[in-house]
């Protein structure tokens, strides 16, 4: 694999340099360089192999893209810009996209936080009472299965502003997975643990915050990460409502103008933002669940 990577690296750099595609050449060089650095800092053979494998796939993709668009342009030039053009534009558009990102993150963050503060207490309350649980189950089953996009007309008609409507749509996507998993988390707390809690005669507040919430936490986090994915998906839909900026809007807007270079730039940027947020989430999750680590 390492030899394959070396061949690809030489091939890509040479092909890009031949066409004076300096940005593409730089990307083709940086990618293996970063991989090499990571391999030096990461512990474990399996993880190093994984890094090399991923880099080979990326490098192959870049090489194929470069050859098919720049060196031998067999692909449609409008739909498939060269990697060099995309990378060049990526850096010049960075400022605009960062601005759009803030607008998107405002919608996403507000809606997601709202989903957390409504779904978790609601789920704890419902999960802790068999009667409420039985009553809520049919509703959550039906409502969670409906894609929140269908609420868009009502959201626009009933809510005062575009951002309120977008936040509502994103919220309704993130709410159900968190709500349902919080209930499941409460239900799955081992019975003996609850018996232990009962025998300690804890106050209601202590019971909720020291037993119920942490007991359901592993399941809540699973639901919360699912909710995060859903809210990303809905962000784009929400930005179609009437946004004038934002990541989803950026892609949609330039695809309307057939500016596919900017569309690809936008897609790459969205990918980076989502990956960063998901990685941050994973870190928080690991930190919260660190008590599960067994003795080495």
């Amino acid at each position: 694999m390492k030899i394959l990577l070396l061949i690809e690296f030489i091939g890509l750099t040479a092909a890009a340099a031949w066409k004076h595609d300096w940005f593409a050449a730089a990307a083709g060089t940086l990618l293996p360089a970063i991989a090499l650095l990571r391999c030096l800092t990461v512990w474990g053979k399996a993880r190093r192999t994984a890094i090399v494998d991923v880099t080979v796939v990326l490098e192959s993709f870049l090489l194929a893209w470069q050859l098919a668009t720049s060196n031998w342009p067999v692909l449609n030039r409008v739909l498939f810009p060269t990697p060099d053009a995309v990378l060049r534009l990526f850096f010049s558009e960075l400022k605009d996209m960062a601005h759009g990102m803030l607008s998107s993150l405002y919608l996403l963050g507000t809606a997601y936080l709202l989903a957390l503060v409504t779904a978790i207490p609601g789920g704890l309350l419902v999960g802790n009472s068999p009667r409420l649980r039985n009553a809520a189950e049919p509703f959550s089953k039906v409502l969670s299965a409906i894609p929140p996009i269908v609420y868009i007309p009502y959201a626009i008609a009933l809510l005062p502003s575009f951002s309120a409507a977008s936040i509502f749509v994103i919220w309704s996507g993130a709410f159900w997975p968190i709500f349902v998993s919080t209930i499941a988390g409460v239900v799955n707390i081992p019975e003996t643990l609850l018996d232990s809690a009962r025998m300690l005669h804890l106050g209601k507040k202590t019971f909720i915050f020291k037993v119920l919430l942490p007991g359901a936490m592993p399941s809540i986090l699973t639901g919360a990460s699912l909710g995060l994915v859903f809210s990303f998906l809905l962000l784009t839909a929400a930005e179609l409502i009437g946004a004038t900026e934002g990541l989803g809007w950026y892609v949609k807007n330039f695809s309307d103008f057939a500016d596919y270079t900017r569309v690809i730039v936008g897609i790459i940027f969205i990918g980076i933002v989502i990956t960063a947020i998901a990685a941050g989430f994973k870190r928080i999750e690991k930190r919260i669940l660190r008590y599960k680590e067994t003795a080495q």
């Binding site: 081992p190 003996t192 643990l193 018996d195 232990s196 809690a197 009962r198 025998m199 300690l200 005669h201 804890l202 106050g203 202590t206 020291k210 037993v211 942490p214 007991g215 936490m217 660190r290 008590y291 599960k292 680590e293 067994t294 003795a295």
Partner: protein, 267 residues
């Protein structure tokens, strides 16, 4: 004094406990001995107030048990401690609920001293998952005795431990009970006859389907003997034989009775 009279409970029509009636004097160490499924854990839950009997009554010092009983603390076979809290925090939580007036520093000191008492001095900041099974049960015992409860209920607490750890914890529990000077009553569920003989001052033998009291034996003399002496002592060995005989009689009675054999089930 714990008094039970005619306590019965059924789950989904199946009788789990049938008219259990006896009393446990203060300061006793009662071992509930029986095979799995004989309802001994159910009986412990009834004592704790975690379950409600269908009929009959349980009272502690004359007061009927109704809901989780304040006089009792419990150690289960597993999941006694909250896994998301360090052992120290687990004990502090119990202490805080029992004595809300104490300051945080006082609670911390108390928790540390109880951990030291069970031989876990350095484990204050460790999570249960990072401890061995034996250490976890030590911490659970520390939490159970840290609160001012007169009655300690233990539900097969050493069932999942290796023989060495089990013997060490048996010694610990025996010593803790002896040191309490009759101030603490222990009800200990086990299916191990030797464990019951070593720990109990009284042994209640339960039979299964339906769960009922077969025999109530006095074993207080055994308390003066060390482990080695105990199992060479004639009286203890006689009691051991007697309990085994009661077990066997319960089993054969069932086999000769209306039990059916199906693919070897029924024994």
């Amino acid at each position: 004094m714990i008094q039970c009279s005619d306590v019965s409970i059924a789950f989904q029509g199946k009788v789990a406990l049938d008219r259990i009636g006896f009393s446990i004097p203060d300061g006793a160490f009662l071992c509930l001995l029986g095979q799995s499924g004989c309802g001994k854990s159910t009986f412990l839950r009834l004592l704790a107030g975690l379950l409600k009997a269908d009929c009959g009554s349980i009272s502690i010092d004359g007061k009927p048990v109704d809901g989780p009983e304040k006089a009792c603390s419990v150690v289960f076979q597993d999941y006694s401690l909250f896994p998301w809290m360090t052992t120290g925090k687990n004990i502090m939580l119990a202490l805080k609920a029992a004595c809300p007036d104490k300051s945080k520093a006082e609670l911390r000191n108390l928790a540390e001293s109880y951990l030291e008492l069970v031989g876990l001095g350095g484990a204050f900041d460790q999570y249960p998952a990072s401890l061995s099974g034996g250490m976890r049960q030590r911490a659970a015992i520390a939490r159970a005795i840290s609160v001012p409860c007169r009655i300690l209920l233990m539900d097969e607490p050493f069932g999942a431990l290796d023989p060495v750890n089990r013997a060490m914890l048996q010694d610990l529990v025996r010593t803790l009970h002896a040191d309490s000077g009759g101030q603490r009553t222990v009800v200990f569920v086990t299916h191990d006859v030797d464990e019951a003989l070593y720990l109990g001052t009284q042994i209640a033998v339960f039979g299964s389907s339906p769960g009922r009291l077969l025999a109530l034996e006095d074993n207080s003399a055994a308390r003066t003997l060390s482990r080695e002496k105990l199992f060479t002592n004639e009286a203890t060995l006689a009691l051991q034989r007697k309990i085994m005989a009661v077990y066997r009689a319960d089993m054969t009675e069932k086999l000769n009775g209306k039990m059916l054999f199906q693919n070897g089930n029924g024994i």
